[in-house]
């Protein structure tokens, strides 16, 4: 998948550069400043929601289009990627790039923003941390410096609160990823800690004026069913027998007051357990390597001190030293081999972030959960009196 996006982004960039005309625009607005905020159009949010709902439980991905203006990334449109079929993977790869290119051309024709600013992905319970996410985002950020990935969690959203994240890889990590060298030393050198791989940006949702009008209209329609007079003023062909529907207004959103959500916690614990185990394994592998390294170093140290001893005893006897300075250097082929074979720390960085995400979600869930429980208690006591 990663290579696919890489190809695709390369193709797109070519097509895109030929088309842009930037004359007559205030240069201050064109300057790219570090991003500090992501602004999503309501349309984008709904499109992502729709696409991910249709594809659930398979992860859905798509492209974000928009523009960055003085540090705010304005995402004004998006389109879904085609689903990957397993049968004809080689063929699909080409088609995927072609599809994106065509879509961009079509959108450009009708004055839509056709500027790629990132991509989106759905996730299940926040389990989005993996190598492919990082790889894809790396490719995006390399081709389009100001791109983000929007991660959408449908499971949490159905509980009543829209859950979106906007993430970007940090510059330090980008550099490191380019060399694919994730040793302890390089991490320390670049001052990278698990939490500083990704930068999380605040998200804002923006509506157009017309949309604001529509939202007021929709809210009214649902909250106040049409009066008799109103219904009679419409043509008779619009008559429908009144069937009670379960459509409720947007707010108050009663999904949030749902009490029984044990399964959510259960799943979280299960996943958390698995991830912690993975983390343990990763740690264990690294420690194994560390032990090996230490053993080798010790062995080397011993040989050297032995040689030094021999040298000094020979010097005392007035003989030339048996070992040259070179022989006394604490290096050996085995040592360099071990050093070169340090297991990559990338996986452990990712796992740490995953654990952190799970834990945060549990605590975020528990707060409202506790509140709801005590609320129930409060309602009950009143009911008894």
């Amino acid at each position: 998948m990663a290579s696919k996006t890489n190809n695709a982004t390369a193709v797109r960039k070519e097509a895109y550069e030929g088309l842009v005309n930037l004359e007559g625009i205030d240069p201050g607005l064109l300057e790219s400043k570090p991003l500090h905020e992501v602004q999503l159009d309501a349309l984008v949010v709904l499109k992502i929601l729709k696409h991910c709902r249709e594809y659930a439980p398979v992860t859905a991905t798509g492209q974000l289009l928009g523009i960055d203006v003085t540090g705010t990334l304005e995402v004004t449109n998006c389109f879904p990627f085609t689903s990957k079929s397993h049968e004809d993977e080689g063929q699909d790869e080409m088609d995927g790039a072609e599809y994106q290119l065509q879509m961009l051309r079509c959108l450009r024709k009708l004055n839509y923003d056709a500027n790629t600013v990132g991509w989106y992905q759905s996730t299940y319970l926040g389990s989005f941390w993996n190598q492919s996410l990082i790889e894809t985002q790396y490719n995006y950020q390399k081709t389009f410096a100001q791109s983000v990935v929007i991660v959408y969690d449908p499971t949490r959203t159905t509980q009543g609160n829209l859950c979106l994240r906007a993430l970007r890889l940090c510059d330090g990590f980008m550099e490191l990823y380019q060399n694919r060298k994730f040793t302890m030393e390089s991490l320390i050198h670049n001052k990278l800690t698990p939490t500083s791989i990704f930068q999380s940006l605040p998200i804002k949702i923006r509506n157009s004026h017309l949309l604001t009008a529509l939202l007021h209209e929709l809210d009214e329609q649902i909250s106040f069913p049409p009066s008799l007079e109103n219904s009679l003023s419409l043509p008779s062909s619009t008559y429908t027998p009144r069937i009670p529907t379960n459509i409720s207004p947007f707010s108050p959103n009663l999904d949030k007051l749902e009490l029984g959500l044990e399964s959510y916690l259960e799943k979280h614990l299960e996943y958390l357990g698995e991830t912690v185990e993975e983390h343990g394994q990763e740690q264990w592998r690294w420690q194994g390597w560390q032990r090996n390294l230490q053993k080798e170093q010790q062995r080397l140290q011993q040989t050297i001190s032995k040689r030094r001893l021999e040298n000094s005893s020979r010097a005392a006897q007035g003989l030339p030293p048996a070992y040259t300075e070179e022989d006394l250097q604490p290096t050996s082929q085995t040592l360099t081999k071990i050093l070169a074979n340090e297991p990559s720390r990338l996986e452990s960085l990712i796992i740490t972030n995953q654990i952190d995400t799970y834990c945060k979600q549990v605590t975020q869930f528990a707060g409202p959960g506790l509140t709801k429980m005590f609320m129930t208690k409060g309602v009950r006591v009143e009911g008894k009196e």
Binding site: Q102, N161, T212, E217, F250
Partner: protein
């Protein structure tokens, strides 16, 4: 029997050719469609008075219900002397692109913005009838001019009528019921999006779980407040009692489950313990990670 002669009785057009016409015909629209239409309207070229596009969706088996799930914009040009040019190549290309993402959604009709159906609409409708054959195309009209201070969205199907003096049958557009339909996740999204409708800069940030719960609780509290004011005013005879409302209230109150106090206490404490335990574990894990990170930094 009305004596006036201005009545014109129109049959619903058959949903598909060859089958008997169903008695009802209705349309439901996903919110994403309306949002896209408005977005398209905002991006139209300056001189263009209205925009059109294709509607994608699914039909029920008998063709009597259409669910509009998606749409895409089209470029077209209209001149006053009833000349309409629709970019068919664009339509085909866009349609095949959409088909690759979701093959279930087919063209079910077209949308336009504005307040009225003009003669050009008839031609466009006929054009789309070819695309949707053997079914009837649906026409969605979104009023972006906000006439009557309302953003009405209306759906139409066309029916043929004979016009005296011409060979060509005329078309009559029949308005059909159309409602907005959304799913759970979409409601959560819309809830947040509609939060922005009352702020002057039309933006809204994401809420934390706690804040959104607070919002919901406050809203429910307001509702309870309204109901209790009403009940009180009925009790003090300030307002006339409405038995329908009374019945609804009765139903709601009777929905509160009765649980034995001891039982409740037991359930409550066990749940509380579970929840606290999980939180404790989660925090412990996080602390571990934080320590690891600190150590990492010190190296």
């Amino acid at each position: 029997m009305p004596t006036s002669t201005s009545f014109l009785h129109l049959q619903f057009p058959p949903a598909s050719l060859g089958t008997s016409s169903p008695s009802t015909f209705s349309v439901s629209v996903g919110p994403v469609v309306l949002f896209s239409v408005l977005d398209h309207y905002l991006r139209r070229p300056e001189q263009q008075p209205r925009v059109i596009g294709a509607l994608l969706g699914v039909r029920s088996e008998d063709g009597s219900e259409v669910e509009i799930r998606n749409c895409f914009p089209l470029s077209h040009s209209e001149t006053s002397d009833q000349q309409v040019v629709v970019d068919t190549e664009y339509l085909n290309q866009m349609y095949s692109l959409h088909q690759r993402v979701n093959s279930k959604e087919t063209i079910v009709g077209w949308y336009a913005t504005g307040t009225e159906i003009n003669p050009n609409s008839v031609w466009i409708h006929e054009f789309f009838a070819n695309e949707t054959a053997p079914f009837q195309p649906v026409h969605l009209l979104v009023d972006t001019k906000l006439s009557n201070d309302k953003m009405a969205c209306r759906a139409f199907v066309s029916s043929q009528v004979g016009v005296p003096g011409t060979d060509h049958p005329g078309s009559m557009f029949l308005q059909i019921p159309c409602d907005v339909k959304y799913f759970d996740a979409e409601r959560s999204g819309l809830d947040l999006i509609s939060m922005a409708k009352d702020t002057p800069d039309r933006t809204a940030g994401l809420l934390s779980d706690m804040d959104s719960l607070e919002r919901s609780v406050l809203q429910v509290q307001n509702m309870i407040e309204t109901v209790s004011t009403y009940v009180n005013s009925v009790l003090t005879k300030k307002e006339q009692a409405n038995s329908a409302i009374g019945r609804f209230l009765m139903d709601t109150v009777s929905l509160v489950p009765r649980i034995d106090a001891d039982e409740f206490e037991k359930m409550f404490s066990s749940h509380l313990q579970d929840l606290l335990m999980v939180v404790y574990l989660a925090n412990l894990t996080r602390t571990q990670l934080a320590i690891a990170e600190r150590l990492h930094k010190m190296m």
